[in-house]
């Protein structure tokens, strides 16, 4: 049996690598994708006051600290059985909407966009954010930087600090905003709406009007008919901060809708011997392996999943784009993974509109942003939609509020099984009878980028790249060919 390994060689051995096993005919037998996992977080938390969790958890991940801060804040509210006053909730959601604009913008222009704007066949050296700027114009680069700056500024005004907010406490926030700050936030939000519309137009002009790109999106390589998860408000519209978790089946119909506190009744985790990370699945459907279809409990949680799982968007401009999206792609649900990029831009527009809605809410400057907890702490669950998928924090404490147990189901973990399936499908289509198409690395990377997975949340040690190395081995394990990317 041939064996192909895609390995980030400058990181730790045995982590974050892809192994592709070929059968005797030289076709793909199976693929194994290992994600590096940071270890010992639960042990690190046990024994600490639970109100520290919003500060600690925003250090888990270098990419979405704001998401962990929010999920932790909601879990801590639940632990203390305290209801956050409306102004407190709105301020948190306002911060979170601005964060979404920053995150989705960065992803589209710096990471996902290059595949489409430069084209999937463009040389690797051009298929990057600099290439995008040169092709679309310097003006766009300036807008991207401006969008990020505005997003960071709102996080700092409400969250007390850029990127790593620190103001959420049990029962609300430590501070509110002034009328002057509100005006500033509103002005930035209105600019964000225009920017989101501009981005959707660029996507439409460059990608959707190009048949080759459209074929790539609707093609079969990254298509899997799975369940889809996303949080919805009381009208079944997409919501990032609060609501119930809704799951729809491969047929698009509601399978279940549950309160965050009931997540463990619906989600279980499958263990494989070849990876430390677990594979969450729908408990009541069951684990049937890395397969799609209504009998397999595999689900996806991404921007596309949220659009599939909801009945629409809660803001008018985003709703119009939502309708256009499903109309162009043949109705609900959309199973093609590369459509995640388009869905992300629709969410960008929604986040910007929601930003302005909240910034112009009469209650937003109220001093009533915190309720003092009075009940004895016990346990609590907090769920938000992180940009990369549904994020669940579950804490248990003793009667003093000291943490005794922690369970997290993070965005990328939800998608571990679907990513594994996409890699298998890309490999299947590009490896025939032992011939490995040169596009393999890129197709695998495109799968990564669509899901935007967190690999151990590595903003950490130098050199910080994610090099890939594909080693093809003969049946006896001897390497016969090596493909490299980002390697010395």
């Amino acid at each position: 049996m041939q064996r192909i390994t895609i390995d980030p060689i400058t990181r730790l051995e045995g982590h974050g690598k892809i192994e592709i096993f070929l059968n005797e005919e030289g076709n793909v037998a199976n693929t194994y994708f290992q994600i590096p996992e940071l270890r010992g977080f639960e042990r690190f938390c046990v024994g600490r006051p639970v109100e520290e969790m919003p500060l600690l958890t925003n250090r888990i991940c270098g990419v979405c600290p704001e998401a962990h801060h929010m999920a932790a804040a909601k879990a801590v509210d639940a632990v203390y059985h305290v209801e956050v006053p409306p102004t407190g909730k709105k301020l948190r959601e306002l911060l979170y909407s601005a964060f979404y604009c920053t995150d989705h913008t960065t992803h589209f222009y710096a990471l996902g966009g290059p595949d489409f704007i430069m084209g999937p066949d463009a040389p690797v050296a051009e298929r990057n954010i600099l290439g995008v700027i040169h092709k679309v114009g310097l003006e766009v680069g300036g807008k991207v930087i401006q969008m990020r700056k505005f997003g960071h500024t709102v996080v700092e005004i409400i969250g007390g600090r850029k990127i790593h907010p620190c103001t959420s406490i049990p029962g609300g926030l430590t501070k509110g905003i002034t009328e002057e700050q509100r005006k500033e936030i509103e002005t930035m939000g209105r600019w964000a709406i225009e920017f989101a519309q501009f981005s959707l137009k660029a996507f439409n002009d460059i990608v959707l009007s190009n048949k080759a790109y459209l074929d790539l999106i609707v093609g079969d390589i990254y298509t899997h008919k799975t369940y889809y998860m996303g949080m919805v408000d009381e009208n079944n519209k997409v919501n990032f901060y609060d609501g119930k978790v809704r799951v729809v089946g491969p047929d698009g119909k509601e399978y279940v809708k549950y309160e965050p506190k009931d997540y463990a009744e619906h989600i279980a985790e499958h263990v494989e011997p070849w990876t430390y990370l677990k594979f969450p699945y729908l408990k009541n459907v069951g684990w049937k392996g890395f397969v799609d279809g209504p009998d397999s409990g595999v689900y996806m949680a991404t921007p596309l999943s949220r659009l599939n799982a909801a009945d629409g968007m809660a803001t008018p401009l985003a709703q119009a784009e939502y309708e256009k999206f499903f109309s162009a792609l043949g109705g609900k649900p959309v199973h093609q993974r590369l459509a995640i990029h388009w869905a992300r831009l629709i969410e960008l527009l929604y986040a910007a509109e929601r930003w302005v809605e909240l910034a112009t809410d009469p209650e937003i400057t109220s001093p009533d942003f915190h309720a003092i907890p009075t009940a004895t702490p016990t346990e609590g669950v907090g769920i938000v939609e992180a940009p990369r998928g549904t994020l669940t924090h579950h804490y248990w404490t003793d009667e003093r509020g000291v943490v005794t147990k922690v369970n997290l189901v993070v965005g990328t973990t939800n998608n571990y099984a679907p990513i594994t399936m996409s890699i298998k499908k890309a490999a299947d289509s590009l490896i025939k009878k032992g011939n490995v198409n040169e596009g393999l690395l890129n197709m695998v990377e495109m799968a990564f980028r669509a899901y935007d997975p967190c690999f151990g949340c590595a903003t950490h040690s130098l050199p910080g790249q994610m090099p890939l190395e594909v080693t093809i081995l003969d049946p006896d394990g001897n390497p016969i060919n090596v493909l490299k990317q980002y390697c010395e």
Binding site: F44, R59, V63, N128, I129, G141, C454, P463, G464, C487
Partner: protein, 156 residues
């Protein structure tokens, strides 16, 4: 020269927090030097580039994992000396390399230090995947040398 000293890394991820520990010590030693600004952040790529806006010279203190040097070895080099293995491509699933991000920023006419003025003091580490607020013994022992390496860079 307007200089910013940044401790990089995750303060709760074992030896990955060494950059913060070094820079916290630098902050104490340079408290009476207004021309020196210090900060500790967990950033990379575009976000780190944005933090460097407006400075002529930057010193980054971070953990490094080459696997080729003894633990605790302190190295000094500039960003210009670091091979940009990404070829201008996305360096991780989420971000781009600092060099690429600086190129993007400069093309936007953002005032940023030159690659040769982004100086790096790196401490060879290994335990960067386990949550802990303490450094391992060999890394703790390297702190004075790393602090000295930074101080030498800012001597007038």
């Amino acid at each position: 020269m307007k200089t910013l000293i940044i401790g990089l890394g995750n303060p709760i991820l074992g030896d990955d927090g060494v950059g913060w520990r070094v820079v916290e010590e630098i902050a104490r030693k340079t408290a009476n030097q207004p021309e020196v600004e210090v900060d500790c952040v967990s950033l990379g790529g575009l976000s780190l580039m944005e933090r460097l806006t407006g400075y002529e010279r930057v010193i980054l203190v971070d953990s490094i994992f080459t696997g080729k040097k003894p633990l605790g070895t302190v190295s000094r080099f500039s960003l210009k000396d670091v091979p940009d293995l990404t070829a201008g491509h996305s360096a991780s699933a989420h971000d781009t390399s600092l060099r690429n991000a600086l190129n993007v920023g400069r093309s936007m006419n953002i005032s940023l230090p030159r690659d040769e003025d982004v100086l790096i003091v790196a401490i060879e580490t290994e335990i960067i995947y386990d949550f802990s607020e303490t450094l391992s013994t060999s890394i703790e022992a390297a702190l004075p040398q790393a602090v000295m390496a930074v101080l030498q860079l800012i001597q007038p």
